[in-house]
Symmetry: C2
Subunit: 511 residues, 2 copies
Amino acid sequence: MTTPYTDSPSQLDPALEKVVAAADAAATAFADTTPRQRASALLAVADALDAHADELVPLAAEETGLGTARLTGELKRTTVQLRLFADVVVDGSYLDVRIDRADDDYVLGVRPDLRRMKVPVGPVLNFAASNFPFAFSVAGGDTASALAAGCPVIVKAHPGHPRLSARTGEIVTAALSAAGMPAGVFAVIEGQDEGVAVLKDPRIRAAAFTGSVRAGRILADIAAGRPQPIPFYGELGSVNPVFVTEQALATRAEDVVRGFVGSVSGSAGQLCTKPGFVFVPEGHGLDDIIAAVVAESNAQLGEQRLLNPNITSGYCGQRDTVLAGEGVRTVVEGSVRVDDQGHGWTTPTVVAIPLSALRAQRRQLLEEAFGPFSVLVEVPAGTSYADVVTEFFTGSLTVTVQAADGEVSDKLRSLVRAATDVAGRVIYGGWPTGVAVTHAQQHGGPWPATTNDSSTSVGTAAIDRFLRAVAYQSLPQQLLPPAVRDDNPWSVPQAIDDAGSSRTWGSAANS
Amino acid sequence: MTTPYTDSPSQLDPALEKVVAAADAAATAFADTTPRQRASALLAVADALDAHADELVPLAAEETGLGTARLTGELKRTTVQLRLFADVVVDGSYLDVRIDRADDDYVLGVRPDLRRMKVPVGPVLNFAASNFPFAFSVAGGDTASALAAGCPVIVKAHPGHPRLSARTGEIVTAALSAAGMPAGVFAVIEGQDEGVAVLKDPRIRAAAFTGSVRAGRILADIAAGRPQPIPFYGELGSVNPVFVTEQALATRAEDVVRGFVGSVSGSAGQLCTKPGFVFVPEGHGLDDIIAAVVAESNAQLGEQRLLNPNITSGYCGQRDTVLAGEGVRTVVEGSVRVDDQGHGWTTPTVVAIPLSALRAQRRQLLEEAFGPFSVLVEVPAGTSYADVVTEFFTGSLTVTVQAADGEVSDKLRSLVRAATDVAGRVIYGGWPTGVAVTHAQQHGGPWPATTNDSSTSVGTAAIDRFLRAVAYQSLPQQLLPPAVRDDNPWSVPQAIDDAGSSRTWGSAANS
């Protein structure tokens, strides 16, 4: 890999310099691994993490306070994700190979042989999240997709689970090494200043982040302000509005409430897809059902620990702000207490507010409260939910529609259309938490859901954020990368445009 | 389209406000046009421009000083580009539709029905370039790809060809209107301050630019620094290094020189892909051939006019800097003179410098000189061209290899590999100027070639920069957009993952 501006001395301390230099040195060899080599390495990482589940899950539980069942499922999700990317790498569609054969009769004059494919961008820096100590942390989605793309990865560990991060890092590094990947292809670093220093290093070619709007914006600005700006994929906050129809209330009110309470209380509400604002028709009559279902849920879950003191204080602050808002009615007054060790403990709080009061206080109230808290917004009859979306939301990971089973109407069509403009995912009937790891997933959305809505942080399309394209013009077959050669040794999909194609341009549109 | 933060008053003067409000108002209706409607509109624009060639070409020639033959070809390229995008829109592959069917046996638990597609980002602002008054201006590549994507377009006209810009804008607007596209879908504005004001407007969702590193960086920083940051696709400067092998010199020296002089002198060297630095073995003996071929070229082309006074002064400045460099030898001393009207007139200048002298003065000398100027860099025997790429270049639109016919070697393989790390396009035997408009083209590259190397500004893949993805979860068919419905009324490619697929994950990688 190129080390640009080598006449500038490194700004890094010796330990970090070693990590970044090793990632840079590994970049070319790693990019040049075959798909099967890289896929085997991803599978080896998955196998190693699965093999250490009995060690990793308790460590994660201790450091984060999250439940064992949730963490066991999260680790499985993490290793399934690595396995899925192994298949993506071997399949090769992600390379988007396009071959235009030389064409003497091209409409614009002689066309040379042109072959385009995606290549890895180079070393990537990932800032780990606190709330998914496996799936969005050291071996999480951004690591899996960057390694799959062929980029060395440096993870800046989240301080919320330092021992788990270090141990996961050791396991991943050992597995990659045993799979024959070059040294330096993976590393974990610690510390906020250290993360910023590495983000500023010219050898880092892209960065990813999952966390708060505040921290994400600071880092995005640093990435954009570098002498050589780089893409920064920050997944930030989201309030995930839900819209409940009259017919949903009439036909399945309890079902809606059960789904709602489950989605708000799971993982103590510390999920970026937690439904923060639920728009319901005025006079919904849900208060008692909600109170009963939350009581049931509390009996089962008890108090739940928040991840760390930062999150506790942020949660308390925004919860207090909303509770003190004009016109806010408490539906369920959940608890928050801080124990001797500084851990926050909670049960869900649900409040209600008229739409007009939310409108009047939108700047204070329309923010993410990261914890088990949600706001019912009571909407007067005749209000268009599509207009509400357009008035109140600019970017959200999700927008959810709760309708009667199979309910379809022009109003719902308008709501889906408005949701498309602001969300990465539009859900019907389900709840936004529980993000499937699959091909068609989209986890992103316009600002402030992300710093860059051109990509996803969950699902196989995530590989695209760590790639750029290169075209090869008139190269002899022996000088071409395997993926764009005529003999196609990796059997990747190749979109071929033969000579003569330009004679029919415009006809598809006219036919 | 959403108008975010509507409680902030508009910062725009009334005329600009009208333009931006109209683009915003048109966004949803335009996004919802069918592929055939949008394709027909693109063809209508192409037809209208072709029909006005007799008016537009002379106007362009007068305002830019570029030759009529070149401009006629450029207009054809521009309209072919619109026609090609019409086919892309109808084909629908660009939507990257992925359908994961609901799967009760999914490896991570029940998987909902998920359908992902690309959607337009919303209103786009394009900053037009001076050097391609058709192909990178009002109706140029960024306009064609954004309209194809379904985004309203506001073009900030380049002051170098104001009357052509206004006239082109009228023709495009009329054609779109006659094709039934919503009012406000296209507009041309003028003025640097006006462009910046619109770039800062929250209703603008992406911007594109072709021009200098200095201006591009300023605008990229504004886009990144907005309260709601947006993607900014700037195509900036490039020095387009060329590497000539010993065998090329031995077998086809005159051919190489003819190609070189043609590439440097065409359009008075005012092309972003002009070969600025040509690395040749020491003792190449090319001086006399170059002098003779430049003399021939001058006899044919005469003095060529530079585009505008800014370019003239930038060209003179960098040319003077290089001519005054230590160890620089003049091979052909071309001319530069400024006439009574302030127009610069030039013939090509070629100089030579030892590699060691370039190394010592790289900060001053290794810059783009936008005009008919190129530097031969004389490389000692035994020097690795791959190492030269890595040492001197971080980002370039192109890297070119001039070898003997069909020459292949490990050294050339290393050179291609190093070039892949820094360039958007790697060329063998040809010259970088003359960028084919086609599917496999890549016009981009790491900084400073572009502000964002995740996309291309030429070729059909350019549509991707004006799209983002949305996933629809469990929606009834009647609420889904046409492209992701089972009945697939637009007949777009749909990548379908059936239930049960996760049972075999990881097996492709192991097979």
